[in-house]
Subunit: 150 residues, 2 copies
DNA sequence: CCTTGCCTTGAAGTACACATGAAGGTTTAT
DNA sequence: ATAAACCTTCATGTGTACTTCAAGGCAAGG
């Protein structure tokens, strides 16, 4: 598959695919005799993975490190694990910030008056109130929590 | 409180606070007789709110729109709600992307071999497997879900 | 043969979100 | 009274993540 087809398949521009290759976010792509990129499904999946991580807010630099750790199947497992766990912590914090903003917005949508300037204390109260609402609406599912941290 | 104190209190640089004011992410700040910004707690809370949303990956432009919607307590409630719901959908998708990446990473940390190039089908399988692990580890808390969507 | 349509590399341009610098004003301390 | 330590505005610089441009190569069709 040429780069244009890959671009159409992934929604990532040809230029961006070239850029990702140059930045080692995706592996070196095989070339045809005349030097054109010949992209297979492995590359497509990598591109999709990169897109997902970028959408989640990870920088190119961090993503490159992260991918190198994934790719390295050898030695220094301890350091690797530590680095991956750092990365994980960053991502979880980001997710929690997002969740907090989502709660904020959901509350606004339900109540519809200004509460943007609440303190963190008040925010927690709002979240509890929102959790109650969700519990009422969803009847029983009152989790609201992300408990998969180590 | 002057801008330096506000900066120290929020962890946001003075330059960024000025920038936020110029971009209407925070309201116009009162000045002293000599023209210096006099920042109160209302502004501090706004700055913190902006920081949170920025950390969650919202652009300045979207954040400005979002804040204008919050600030406008008048008329066209229907349009406002629609726009807020759009914003909410974007944020939820972002959160889900992040969660998917987190699951991916957690799985890697537990298994520690390369599975970055799995298809979406396989990823779902991994997530189920990971959910099972979490259920085992946390003994009973098998939520893993974000069920607060409307 | 020449246009169309794909591709290549390398360089330069762009948008966003600030950071930094210049030039100057005010209060406080020595 | 002169320096230190704040402040102001306005302009310009910076890093990131691409996009766009320039110059050219290869293959098919009219």
């Amino acid at each position: 598959m040429n780069i244009k087809e890959a671009s159409e398949k992934t929604g990532v521009s040809s230029a961006a695919i070239r850029y990702y290759e140059k930045e080692s976010l995706i592996p070196a792509i095989d070339r045809t005799e005349v030097g054109n990129r010949d992209i297979d499904d492995r590359i497509i999946r990598r591109i999709r993975f990169v897109t997902q991580m970028r959408a989640a807010g990870m920088s190119i630099e961090n993503l490159r490190r992260y991918i190198q750790l994934f790719d390295a199947q050898e030695d220094n497992t301890k350091e690797q694990k530590a680095l991956l766990q750092e990365q994980l912590a960053v991502m979880e914090e980001k997710r929690d910030d997002l969740q907090s903003a989502i709660d904020h917005l959901n509350y606004k949508l339900n109540h519809f008056y200004d509460h943007m300037e609440t303190t963190e204390e008040e925010l927690r109260a709002l979240e509890r109130e929102h959790a109650d609402q969700v519990a009422q609406q969803d009847d029983g599912k009152a989790s609201d929590g992300f408990d998969m941290n180590d």
